[in-house]
């Protein structure tokens, strides 16, 4: 069982409500779900869609063929009709659309009239649509009932009852129209299925930060990173966190550095344009050795680019951002689960080595929803590295930047003792005071950069290797393409010895001692580097660091994510000749 449902229409028509409710309902019913969204940079109008895939086995990507299309306007039909599977159905409301389609693929469900007639309000049209989908799939309304109780319970009995009746009407109507439909989900809410958690990349980063003891998050709203700030802001009171909306990204990063200097775990988040403003502060973090985590959710540039769409175009920028030379770590999770654990690891490394860790995602991962059984809180590490209270009071002397074997000097909390904590954006001595002499400068570079780097490199995990152990074809990628590559490898493996090499900890590049990925690449017949950008930025990093050149670089930079089908099409041209 593997179905794809797409909801298309104008912004503001309820696409998110229908898709989001269905995704939650399927996850609660124990099904695996994957969703992704495509929206324009506007609050009303235009054309948006929400694509949902459900299955009884794990999913990590979207497929291109649609089984059920819920079209809320003509544009929704026009744009997606060609994507319909052979026996796919388009559900629409001929009255509201003022158009009737005689094609057998079309199911005319009067969303508005059923909503008014059974629910008592036109606003319940979306509920009718949800009911229609459940009817087509042969699912009952028990789980929906529970979701509605939570959502509408406080709004009064009438609204709850109205929505339930509207859903029933939609379901009954669709069952009648869809007698010949062969959909079978094979689950009922009454069986003792294990519910699955449903989470986006953005929420997973927010949750990971909270689970890492985050206390201060400052940011300026910017798509597609804003969801992280929204999520954490909703948890301020519960966890004792301050979320500060700064006047600009320059202030955002400087506030986070101030909070970190004062003694709390701090983070900021943005997209490429905001990150450009933060680079000065990134360099300041490097000089003052102040721990910081930055979430960088990419979107296509340059400049404002395509604000609501996706791209992996900022890797080289993140690698070199900030003036001067200082260490940094870059992570690029491939799933919300990886985003959760890597955010936790980012806080650990940032504090242990007093550096900046950048977590790179993109609109595709930020907004897509995945199902998991559960994240394991026991795997979360939390170890406070700061010198506070008695720990700093007991010291005979304290200097913020004392030279040490590892390059790391304990981070004292100002005000917790009579020892002074002094740091400077100017080159400084061990006490943190401004200096000009070359000898101290050399020693500080040794401490900040050269001594720390080997230790930091050791923390970096090997890339994920999936598929044939002795592959002839290797698909390499980083960040959000993980799920697409994985499912593509599954399909290729039917006829080929194929494997995936996925990097989620990308800088410093993992040492080959842990896993010799270079040998895997060198021994394969055909190696691909697959990137959602126009220039193959990760391939360039690999070449710069290892001298290895990929056989083929597959790029997509139209602002849309890869899909399994799209990637297969691109790969086949090269594989055919193998």
């Amino acid at each position: 069982m593997d179905y794809t449902i797409k909801i298309g229409g104008e912004a503001g028509q309820g696409i998110q409500t229908i898709g989001g409710t269905l995704a939650r309902l399927f996850a609660r019913s124990g099904l695996h779900v994957f969703t992704h969204q495509d929206y324009e940079s506007r609050v009303r109008g235009g054309h948006n869609f929400y694509q949902l895939r459900l299955s009884d086995r794990p999913l990590t990507a979207s497929r291109d063929k649609i089984d059920i299309l819920i079209a809320l306007d003509k544009e929704g039909i026009h744009r997606h009709r060609d994507e319909l599977a052979e026996d796919g159905k388009i559900v629409y409301d001929s009255t509201a659309m003022k158009e009737t389609y005689e094609d057998p693929h079309f199911l005319d469900v009067p969303f508005e009239n059923l909503a008014i007639e059974h629910g008592g309000n036109k606003i319940m049209s979306n509920t009718v649509a949800i009911g229609a989908v459940l009817g087509m799939l042969g699912m009952d309304l028990n789980v929906l009932h529970k979701i509605f109780e939570k959502r509408f319970g406080k709004k009064g009995e009438d609204i709850l009852k109205g929505n339930l009746k509207a859903a029933e009407a939609g379901r009954d109507h669709a069952i009648k129209l869809c007698e010949s439909c062969s959909y079978s989900v094979g689950t009922t809410s009454t069986s003792s299925v294990e519910s699955k958690m449903l989470i986006t990349g953005n929420d997973a980063i927010g949750l990971g930060a909270i689970a890492s003891g985050l206390k201060f998050y400052s940011a300026y709203p910017m798509t597609p990173s804003t969801g992280i700030m929204n999520y954490i802001a909703g948890k301020e009171a519960e966890y004792g966190i301050i979320v500060e909306q700064a006047e600009d990204e320059i202030a955002a990063i400087n506030m986070a550095l101030g909070a970190s200097f004062a003694g709390v775990r701090a983070m900021t988040g943005t997209s490429g344009g905001g990150f450009a403003l933060m680079t000065e502060g990134l360099s300041l973090a490097g000089m003052t050795e102040t721990p910081l985590v930055i979430a960088l959710a990419q979107r296509p540039g340059p400049a404002t680019g395509l604000p609501t769409r996706t791209e992996q175009g900022d890797l080289q920028f993140a690698l070199y951002a900030g003036h001067g030379e200082f260490p940094r770590v870059i992570f690029a999770p491939g799933t919300p689960e990886q985003a959760f654990y890597l955010t936790n690891k980012a806080f650990g490394i940032a504090e242990k080595y007093q550096i900046t860790v950048i977590i790179m995602t993109d609109q595709y991962l930020a907004d897509s929803e995945w199902t998991f059984d559960r994240f394991d809180v026991n795997k979360v590490h939390y170890s406070d590295q700061r010198l506070r209270g008695h720990a700093i009071k007991e010291l005979k002397e304290y200097r913020r930047h004392t030279f040490s074997e590892s390059g790391v000097t304990p981070l004292g909390v100002p005000g917790d003792s009579t020892h002074l904590v002094v740091t400077d954006s100017d080159e400084h001595d061990e006490s943190g005071h401004i200096i000009e002499d070359g000898e101290t400068r050399m020693k500080m570079m040794e401490k900040r950069l050269f001594k720390k780097m080997p230790h930091i490199r050791e923390e970096i995990a090997a890339p994920a290797f999936y598929g044939d152990n002795d592959p002839e074809i290797v698909l390499t990628g980083w960040g959000s393409t993980y799920g697409i590559l994985k499912e593509t490898v599954d399909l290729l493996s039917v006829s080929r010895k194929a494997a995936m090499l996925h990097f989620s900890e990308i800088y410093p590049l993992p040492e080959t001692e842990k896993f010799d990925y270079l040998t895997v690449l060198e021994e394969a017949s055909l190696t691909f580097c697959i990137e959602n950008n126009g220039t193959g930025q990760f391939a360039r990093l690999v070449r710069a660091e290892t001298g290895y050149d990929f056989g083929v670089i597959i790029k997509r930079f139209d602002g849309r994510p890869f899909s399994v089908d799209y990637l297969l099409g691109e790969l086949n041209a090269h594989i055919a000749g193998l």
Partner: protein, 283 residues
């Protein structure tokens, strides 16, 4: 009790005769007089001659980037509002590069004390016009004289309803030290603009020039009368008032944040296991 010796920092690298020396002395006097220990203070600064200030005293210090002292100070105060957080900055640093941050710091009303060494010129980069350089002043970079209107930081701050607005003069240390005490004791964001001759680069606004014009605002002035304060803020030229021009009782930002009413942010404990409950919200 702290002594002047406790506040003795590095040897200042300022020009001999610089107005910064008397600001430094006034500040040490104020801190010692108030019994504040160096470790109870965190001084944040940016870049410029004034921004070197924390190196010349002893205190917790974050000497950050040009124009960016206020956001850093905001982060520190929100993380630990038991620390006294002060910013030392200059007219270029604060009113030029950091202008946007100043506006929003005043709006937030975080309990930060902002001391601006206002010498109406860029010193560190050797004599270019600053936002407070008087119109028509000729410099190497402005050979036809400054075309832009001189920024009036006092009027700007009052217009934004800044919680405490004062002007001092480095040539009157006793008065300045008193202003510093009043600012530190005030609850809310406090701006003290300090007129300070630059003996090397500003040949217009000299000690003599200020001495002929500066006068202490009369005790009858009611600093809580905003319109009157704004009117007095317009005075510049023949007569320049110094003293507390405006103040109000706006609630500070820290007092508004529910999360830190019981204790400062950095004292909150954290238990990873709590996340289990939050995970349930994703089902």
């Amino acid at each position: 009790m702290p002594t002047l010796q406790d506040y003795r920092g590095q040897q200042p690298a300022w020009c001999p005769g610089c107005g910064n020396f008397s600001i430094l002395k006034s500040f040490k006097d104020a801190m010692v007089g108030m019994g504040i220990e160096p470790h109870q203070l965190t001084v944040v600064s940016g870049i410029g001659q004034a921004a070197k200030f924390p190196h010349y005293i002893r205190c917790n210090t974050f000497n950050g980037l040009h124009g960016r002292a206020l956001p850093v100070a905001t982060g520190i105060r929100l993380a630990n509002h038991e620390q006294r957080v002060l910013v030392f900055t200059g007219d270029g640093d604060c009113y030029g590069e950091g202008g946007n941050h100043l506006t929003h710091a005043i709006r937030r009303n975080v309990n930060i004390k902002l001391f601006v060494h206002d010498n109406q010129i860029y010193g560190l980069t050797k004599g270019q016009a600053s936002p407070t350089t008087m119109e028509g002043t000729k410099t190497k970079n402005q050979p036809f004289g400054v075309f832009s209107e001189q920024l009036n930081p006092i009027a700007l701050a009052i217009a934004l309803d800044c919680s405490f607005v004062a002007r001092g003069f480095s040539g009157d240390m006793e008065h300045l030290s008193g202003l510093m005490r009043a600012a530190v004791n005030h609850n809310g964001f406090s701006l003290v603009d300090i007129l300070q001759p630059c003996v090397t680069f500003n040949k217009v606004n000299t000690y003599e020039w200020y001495k002929q014009r500066v006068y202490t605002i009369e005790p009858e002035h009611n600093p809580e009368d905003k319109m009157e304060a704004f009117r007095r803020a317009q005075e510049w030229g023949d007569r320049i008032p110094i003293g507390i021009l405006y103040k109000n009782n706006r609630t500070s930002y820290e007092e508004r944040i529910p999360v830190i009413q019981e204790m400062p942010l950095l004292r909150h404990s954290f238990e990873v296991s709590k996340v289990e409950v939050t995970l349930n919200e994703f089902y």
